[in-house]
Every structure is written in structure tokens, then in C-alpha cells.
């Protein structure tokens, strides 16, 4: 009963934040600049990249492990004994490995593509967010951090993210991945509709 109440209260809080900050502006995501390349070219490229990561590195493409490793590094720095006693880090000791280098290089790849294509944004708040909500970096930071926390917890529980499950797991026909991806989109669509569609 108590948990039901708190869920309800949380829900009301979310709705209030939503209505308090939504300036009532209707936003259309298609009003903003779209992709530079065809999604089919990019998709095929990522599929082909998977052949290479599997055959040359014996690794599927994935991103979320990186963040767990960073948290493990910080944890070891601040509280070594405690960090090493946690079940997750016992099974997955943080190390500077392939996944770590992969995600760091993803940042660089994004920069190279944006700079060469004249798409470097250099902005703290996405234009569509600004059009929908107030122009406040505090609000953007708060919502962004909360989103990140939920996402990492969800990814670790589900066993992967949009890359590890959504691309690499689904292409291996992994049942876990197809269930997880369906739920990524169910959860994502529900919350995005609440925040942006009305």
C-alpha cells in the first residue's frame, strides 16, 4: 500500500513538473535538421562493422558497460574495499579494456563526423527541448542526470543497452535482447509521449 502511494505521488510530481515547465508549445521533431546520410547506408555500415568486431576482436558492439567501468574506477578510488566487495564488480572487475576504448573512440568518431559535415552543435540545451520547456540549464541537467541514472540501472538489469541488446543482441537472435528492446521502446514511447506529445 505504501509503495503504491509513493508510486502515485511520484507520478503526480512528474505530471506537475511537466505542466509547470511546458510552455504549452507544440513541438514537431521533423522541424529540425535530419540525418546527413541515408539510414539504410548507416544501418548497413553498422551491420558490417559488427562482422568485423565479431571476427577481429571477438566482441559485439556495446556501450553501457563503459559507464559501469567508469563507476567502478571511481568507486575503487574512493572506497576500494567496498567497491571490490560488490557482486557486480566481483564478476565484472573494472578494467581499461576493449569496451572502454571503444566508447571513448565513439566520442571522437562523432566529433570527426560532425566537424567534417558542418554539423558541430556547440550547445548546452537542444533546440527542441528549449522550444518545449523553459530555457534552464538546471532543469536540463536535472532531468538528464535522472534519465542517465534510470537508463544505466535499466541497462544493467536488462543486460545491455540500445547497442548491446538493440543491435548486437537482436542480430544474434537473442531472446533476452528482443524482449528488452521491445521494453526499451514501450517505456521510452510512454514517457516521451507524456513529455512532448500533448
Amino acid at each position: 500500500m505504501r509503495t503504491k502511494m509513493s508510486v502515485l505521488l511520484g507520478w503526480i510530481a512528474v505530471l506537475q513538473v511537466d505542466s509547470a515547465f511546458a510552455a504549452g508549445n507544440v513541438v514537431n521533431p521533423l522541424d529540425y535538421p535530419g540525418p546527413a546520410w541515408s539510414p539504410y547506408v548507416v544501418g548497413a555500415g553498422i551491420g558490417f562493422l559488427s562482422w568485423l568486431t565479431f571476427s577481429l576482436s571477438d566482441k559485439p558492439i556495446g556501450a553501457s558497460t563503459f559507464y559501469a567501468q567508469v563507476s567502478g574506477f571511481i568507486g575503487r578510488l574512493l572506497a576500494k574495499r567496498h567497491t571490490e566487495s560488490l557482486a557486480y564488480f566481483k564478476e565484472n572487475p573494472p578494467h581499461f579494456g576493449w569496451e572502454f576504448v571503444f566508447v571513448l573512440s565513439t566520442i571522437v568518431g562523432g566529433a570527426v563526423a560532425a566537424l567534417t559535415g558542418g554539423e558541430f552543435a556547440n550547445e548546452w540545451i537542444p533546440p527542441m527541448w528549449e522550444a518545449r520547456f523553459v530555457d534552464s540549464i538546471t532543469l536540463r541537467a536535472t532531468v538528464g542526470i535522472c534519465g542517465g541514472i534510470l537508463m544505466a540501472f535499466g541497462a544493467r538489469l536488462a543486460g545491455g543497452c540500445t547497442s548491446g541488446h538493440g543491435i548486437s543482441g537482436t542480430m544474434q537472435l537473442n531472446v533476452a535482447s528482443w524482449i528488452s528492446v521491445a521494453c526499451f521502446f514501450i517505456g521510452g514511447i510512454a514517457v516521451a509521449m507524456m513529455l512532448y506529445s500533448f
Binding site: 521533423l30 548507416v42 548497413a44 571503444f102 566520442i107 538528464g144 536488462a158 514501450i186
Partner: protein
């Protein structure tokens, strides 16, 4: 002809070398940015069911990747990396992930791309991702004995579920997904 190596561990696959990881990561980030999925409005646009770029990229990657990886696996050139199916944690974790994705507007891989692209708000999300990973680690021991036990099916693939031979399933599924992509393009050309 050698039997398909569904159970045997092929020793031929490469090892995870860091320079290769760097080149692959660079390519991944480059492709994601060119595909527009480092952009907040493209990702949120998909969740609003207005912009179908994300679905098109993912489904194409799945078709191309699946055909290649299973072919390579058949000839013993690669290992599969199967994750255990735990229905409870896949569903709950998936829903939480989706909710967080909608709040931030980037996912873990596209947040890295967005940061490279100069969308500095991705840093907030990345900080949250580190914190969230830590919270999971704190709870990992108790989750293992509770939620993660619910619906534990082990390492299971879709063809096993439908009791169809892997090769047949891959061909049929690739065709189905391709038809799906054509339908998607027809319905949502943008």
C-alpha cells in the same frame, strides 16, 4: 564438410586488441553521427513515433549483421555472444531504460556521439549513467537472488524458442525484416 559449430568453440576468432577497439569505436561514432542519431530531436522524434530514422537504422543493422554473423559462425569464424534471458529483469530493466532514454534524449552510445558532436548536455546523461551503474552494483547481490531469478530461461535464441533450424530461421527472418523495412519506408518516407 565440417558440421556447423553450434556447440564447439571455434578457436579462430580474434582477440580484443585495443587499437582495433579504437578504430571500431571511431567508425561507430562516425556512422551514428552521420545517421543523425546523435541528435536529440531525431531520438525523441522516434519515441514520439514521428521520425523513424532510429528504427530504420537498427533494423537494417540487424538484417546485415545477422546474415553476416551467422554465416561466419556457421563456418567457425566467430563466436556468438549470447546473454541469458531473464524475463523479469529484461522487462523491468527494459522499461526503466526506456523511461530514462526519453528523459535524457540520448542512449548510452548516442550520448557519446552527441558529446563528440558538441551537444554538451550529453555530459549530464553520462554522469547519470555512471551513477546509475553504481546504484545497480550496490544492489547487485540482492537483485541476483530476487528479480533476476524470475523467468530465467538461460541462453536461448529465437529459433530455439520456435524449434526451427537456425539457418532456416535466419533466412526467413531476414526476409521478413526486409519486407518490414520496405513497409516502414512506404509508410514513413522521412
Amino acid at each position: 564438410m565440417k558440421q556447423s559449430s553450434e556447440t564447439a568453440e571455434p578457436p579462430v576468432a580474434g582477440t580484443p586488441k585495443l587499437p582495433a577497439g579504437a578504430v571500431f569505436g571511431l567508425t561507430f561514432g562516425f556512422l551514428l553521427q552521420k545517421g543523425g542519431v546523435g541528435k536529440f530531436h531525431v531520438l525523441i522524434g522516434q519515441l514520439m513515433l514521428q521520425d523513424w530514422t532510429v528504427a530504420k537504422i537498427m533494423l537494417t543493422a540487424i538484417v546485415v549483421g545477422m546474415v553476416g554473423v551467422f554465416t561466419l559462425h556457421h563456418f567457425g569464424k566467430v563466436n556468438l555472444h549470447i546473454k541469458a534471458t531473464r524475463v523479469g529483469s529484461n522487462i523491468i530493466g527494459g522499461l526503466l531504460f526506456g523511461a530514462g532514454f526519453a528523459l535524457l534524449g540520448y542512449c548510452p552510445g548516442t550520448a557519446a556521439t552527441a558529446l563528440g558532436q558538441g551537444n554538451w548536455d550529453a555530459l549530464f546523461g553520462m554522469a547519470g549513467l555512471v551513477v546509475g551503474s553504481w546504484i545497480f552494483a550496490e544492489l547487485s547481490a540482492s537483485l541476483k537472488t530476487s528479480l533476476e531469478k524470475w523467468g530465467d530461461l538461460g541462453m536461448v535464441l529465437l529459433p530455439d524458442l520456435f524449434n526451427i533450424r537456425r539457418g532456416v530461421f535466419v533466412v526467413v527472418f531476414a526476409l521478413l525484416l526486409t519486407v518490414g523495412l520496405f513497409a516502414l519506408e512506404w509508410a514513413f518516407p522521412i
